[in-house]
């Protein structure tokens, strides 16, 4: 569930003082049905409002952790290589969205005694009607 306080906190963290993220009146005056999300919030939104009762049977909750967890447990350094967003409709406070993640590519390169693991993952978030809202794609590099 997209939570309003998470949106305001995130906006402050990316140095955005636009009142559209803190005032429902301002959001309404700008044509939004509720407070909208800053453009990079979808990358982290699985970390907020992933309430237990919302999870699908067999759902995994935070998908990013499934990818990063085993790599981080292995030590070394994780670097974010690339990030992309495709916006289909605004992310708004109060929405309940469902994210489906897919590993698009994963490979390992050895170079000068260093092991580099590359992972490309795509997550598509959809609203309650099944319409896509936003697609995020990340490319990370684990170096050890």
């Amino acid at each position: 569930m997209v939570e309003r306080s998470a949106l305001a906190f995130f906006a402050s963290a990316v140095l955005d003082d636009d009142p559209v993220y803190t005032s429902a009146d301002e959001a309404s005056a700008r044509g939004f049905e509720a407070i909208p999300a800053p453009p990079t919030f979808p990358f982290v939104m699985q970390n907020w409002g992933a309430f237990a009762e919302l999870q699908a049977e067999g759902g995994q909750g935070a998908g990013l952790g499934m990818v990063l967890g085993p790599l981080m447990a292995n030590g070394g350094l994780i670097l974010h290589g690339e990030q992309a967003f495709v916006y289909h409709q605004p992310v708004l406070a109060g929405q309940t969205l469902t994210g489906v993640g897919v590993i698009k590519d994963a490979y390992v390169k050895e170079s000068k005694g260093t092991t580099m693991t590359f992972v490309v993952a795509e997550t598509t978030w959809s609203d309650a009607s099944g319409a896509p809202v936003v697609t995020t794609t990340f490319n990370i590099i684990h170096r050890k």
Binding site: F9, L77, Q83
Partner: protein, 136 residues
């Protein structure tokens, strides 16, 4: 407060207002909390040094987020169609970071922008592209 650019006033080569910020460790802690990304490289100096880094360093997504802030102030909230970047360099506390956003194409109401974040020496941290639909 922030008035988006109007399509009829835009030309290729136009630049968005620059957002400049001196990065602090507090910024990194705030972003860690707001994003839920607690990778210790961004807040735990001893662990960063143990990983042979000169200090803690900024989240790549904080760099992209700062560019996103300047970008939405220019095109308007809700106008973005796509936004993608490559993370070229890490950011470090006390660096003065500035956005550089340039109109590279206008096709109907779809505006393409080159987006970057660089430090005071011109070292590029983030490079990418965005597209937005602008009202006239």
């Amino acid at each position: 407060m922030y008035s988006p650019a109007k399509l009829e006033n835009l030309a290729i080569g136009d630049e968005a207002p620059v957002l400049t910020h001196t990065l602090t460790r507090t910024d990194l802690v705030r972003y860690a909390g707001a994003s839920g990304d607690y990778n210790p490289m961004h807040h735990d100096e001893p662990k960063a040094l143990a990983a042979r880094q000169p200090s803690v360093f900024g989240h790549g997504m904080l760099s992209m987020g700062i560019v996103g802030t300047a970008l939405t102030h220019f095109v308007g909230v809700g106008a973005l169609e796509t936004f993608s970047v490559r993370f070229a360099r890490q950011t470090w506390p006390d660096e003065v970071l500035s956005t550089k956003i340039t109109v590279t194409d206008i096709s109907g109401d779809l505006v393409t922008l080159d987006v970057r974040l660089h430090n005071a020496d011109g070292e590029e941290k983030v490079l990418g592209q965005a597209t937005a639909r602008l009202a006239g």
